[in-house]
């Protein structure tokens, strides 16, 4: 049990832990002593002024990174789905790349569905379906220059579509054709008489990829069992539309595209996503990196409300020192740009001082004497 006196001094997590561990009927004096000791230990664990936390974080993530390089690009256990893991993924996250190589979502479901109700159906309905998936055959009738599409009726049934509905949809997404619906087929006939056959073939290729149902950009779905509930994992992301579905548990559903998270859920969620994604990769490799290092990097990437990668266009460009920027990448560019506006380097940080061989303002180099003038 935490004592009143320490309620504000100790973090919640530690208080909870104390509540759990210490027996209920402990004497007040003993409790006080325990709390005091815990507080002392807690204060000892705090980072001291002048500690080079950024550099320690960089090295703590960078060093295990050297061990990862060799075992990358293997499949992350989930059947049939290829996932970028290892160093390439870490680079992707920390660089803040806009187009990640394997966008994925984990969709958690609300109560009746999470137990597995209609799980297959839900999954197929989420998936972006194109015409070629719903068609048995797409062929060109050369004699009367039409495109005949024989439909897979079973598939249509699962997708909650009928031929007429589909024909209407297709009519909207194509121009210059008569769309005619039959029992289990749809035919396209050009309006103008002298349409070239070439164009018809082109249209046929286009038709194959016409969107007919599901949620856009969700390329692949895979329902899996996590513990005792079902989760749908998808390749391709569309957080906005998925979260608006009524059977989705919006509190736990996530995706691994940080920019999409920022757009839909905001910067705090993105910060957490960066932490989660980086730790996921590191854990999968069997490496051990303290989460606080990752948190620091994540904070740095998100602190002004936008995501900035650890690149010369992102975080590095915000450095105040020209020499520090120049020592990262493209030094001449940075020096020339600085000279154009007459920038001044105050030599306040580490790298500049190493370059000039001055004491670095970190650790023992940080404190200096301040004296007060005695009034005469």
């Amino acid at each position: 049990m935490a004592v009143e006196e320490y309620k504000d001094k100790l973090p919640l997590k530690i208080q909870e832990e104390l509540n759990e561990i210490i027996p209920k009927n402990t004497a007040k004096s003993k409790l006080n002593m325990i709390n005091e000791q815990v507080y002392k230990e807690y204060m000892k664990m705090k980072v001291e002024p002048g500690e080079g936390v950024g550099l320690v974080a960089a090295e703590s993530i960078g060093e295990p990174g050297t061990q990862m390089t060799l075992n990358t690009f293997h499949f992350a256990g989930v059947a049939e789905m290829n996932v970028t893991v290892g160093l390439p993924r870490i680079i992707e996250i920390l660089d803040g790349s806009k187009a990640i190589s394997t966008p994925m979502m984990e969709i958690y479901l609300k109560s009746p569905y999470s137990k597995g109700k209609n799980i297959k159906e839900l999954a197929t309905n989420i998936k972006e379906t194109t015409l070629k998936e719903a068609a048995k055959e797409i062929s060109v009738n050369i004699s009367n220059s039409t495109i005949e599409i024989t439909l897979n009726m079973e598939k249509l049934k699962i997708l909650n579509l009928n031929v007429a509905k589909l024909a209407k949809q297709l009519n909207e997404s194509t121009k210059g054709f008569h769309v005619k619906a039959a029992d289990d087929s749809i035919s396209f006939k050009p309006r103008s008489k002298n349409t070239e056959l070439n164009e018809i073939f082109k249209l046929k290729e286009k038709l194959k990829d016409v969107y007919i149902s599901g949620i856009k950009r969700i390329k692949q779905v895979l329902p899996v069992k996590r513990g005792d509930e079902f989760v749908i994992i998808t390749a391709g992301t569309n957080l906005h539309e998925i979260l608006s579905l009524d059977f989705v548990d919006t509190t736990r559903t996530t995706c691994n595209d940080i920019y999409e998270i920022v757009e839909v859920l905001g910067i705090e969620a993105a910060r957490q996503t960066i932490i989660n994604e980086v730790s996921k990769v590191i854990d999968a490799q069997g490496l051990n990196v303290d989460i606080r290092h990752i948190m620091l990097v994540s904070d740095l990437m998100c602190h002004n409300g936008n995501i900035k990668g650890i690149t010369r266009y992102g975080v590095i460009s915000e450095k105040s020192s020209i020499l520090a920027k120049a020592s990262f990448e493209t030094p001449i560019k940075h020096i020339i740009n600085a000279s154009l506006v007459g920038e001044e380097d105050k030599l306040n940080s580490v790298i500049e001082n190493v370059m000039l061989n001055q004491p670095v303002p970190i650790g023992t180099g940080l404190p200096s004497l301040v004296s007060r003038k005695v009034p005469e």
Binding site: G52, E59, P359, V360
Partner: protein, 600 residues
Amino acid sequence: MTEVYLNSKFIGTVEDSTAFVESMLSERRKSKFSNSLNIFSDKENDMLFIEASKGRLRRPVLVVKEGKSLLTEKHKAQITKKEISWGDLIDQGIIEYLDAAEEENAYIAFREGDITPETTHLEISPMIIFGLCTSLVPFSNHTPPTRVNMGSKNQKQALGFYAANFLLRMDMDVSILETPQAPIVESIMHKISNYDKHPSGQNLVVAIMSYKGYNMEDAIIINRGSVERGIGRSTYFRPAVAEELRYSGGLIDEICVPDKDVKGYRSEKDYRLLEEDGIIYPEAKIKEDDVIIGKTSPPRFLSSLDEYSLASNLRRESSSTIKHGEKGVVDFVLITENEEGNKLIQVRLRDQRIPEIGDKFTSRHGQKGVVGLIVDHADMPFSASGITPDLIFSPHGIPSRMTISHLIELIGAKVGALSGRFIDGTTFDSEPEKALRDELLRMGFRENGTETLYNGETGEMFETRIYIGNMYYLKLRHMVANKIHSRGRGPIQLLTRQPTEGRALEGGLRLGEMEKDTFVAHGASMLLKERFDSDRTVVPICETCGLLAVYDEFKKRSFCPMCGENTEVSNIEIAYAFKLLLDEIKSFGIYPQLKLKNKY
């Protein structure tokens, strides 16, 4: 119709290619025509290739007829009695050479027992698939090929008795092992190559155990007693050369004790070992900076030879000295002439190398290691019969590398040492392991090669029995004495004023960028500054313009080339590399102004 090509040129066709090839072969085996002719029948494309051209790679195999090798016991007896030779076997068609193409038509059995009715040829020995060095690895059929390969490569680096006339040679950078031995476990290749005439290792008593952790990570421990008795001693030779070169204008180098007025004269002490002719005497003990051959050269540029100075003090010093960090004894001095008729002096230096911590040793199975500790004989573990190992090898080197041949050699050599004979360890044809173990048992040892050992320091018995036996160990040419280097101060580079790099230039080891990071991470700010002080400079800065000022040593005052003398000039301490950076920035037209501020 089969097309026939002779040396890749079309010459005609034959009706029945099979019969044609057969008759060709039988005629060749009867030596009706040259045995360097090969014939290849390409059934798929219906073509026949007869090759008699130069430069084909060919190899000998035994001919098999009707499921039987043509080489019979009778031949073998004749060979042993030296009645017939290799050439006779070829003439009789018992051995023939196949080239790469004809091999395609052959069906070669690996061993005599593998012969089937389809077999056309038999390997002379299964071991023939290996080259010379690889054949020298005993029992190598019990070890992964990667390790056999390493073992064979290691042997090429072994020190030994490389040439009997080594005393007359002026080889660069060579060593001679002082007491080499022929291996107890040998293969047939040792006999073929007369290995006992030029051996390169020694038979040591090896125990596979740990010893206070000093043989972790492939290190080995050796017995000081054994070292003192001569194990692994080698002599290292290195020549020093000087030549009296001739230059244009009739100028010439002169080998002599340099005059004191020569440009670049060293101290008198450095020349003390030279005799009147300017050459060192044999058996002189030399160490760092000593001159071996004194020499003076004419001035580098003739233009500098002006009328004011005397010609003699313009000559410069160009003696040969011993390299930094080396020592030795002058072994041999040779005064001769080279092709151009210039006087040529060659001096060979000798240095005895006694094994020390850091020297590299290996067995023949790719199990190389560096000496981690030299233990007094008294402290080495000993067996009931009083045997102490010469070398202790770590058991952790075995499981992941799977060098079983290493283990078998140990037993084999133990048997050989006890029974006083050589053990045949030829790959695929060795004495069976079982027989070796039985023999060991008969001689009163445990058949698995283990013995009870006692702690050399306390005398206590080790609870575990230790695998101990003999092995052939090689000393490799990588010795610490040739590699060790460190520096506290020393020469710097001209441009950057940073310390030189590399052992030859008296350099140390670089404290790089990532090493720097560890200093920062520890907050050891002042230590970091001190480490990077190697190119520290104090430069005067003009406070008006913020650029480098000049200090005039004669007038004892500073001025700024831009602002003149009426300006405040302050000295600051920076890295010389940073001064260079400022210069470079200036060179592309940017004005890097330094604004000075008092630190306190």
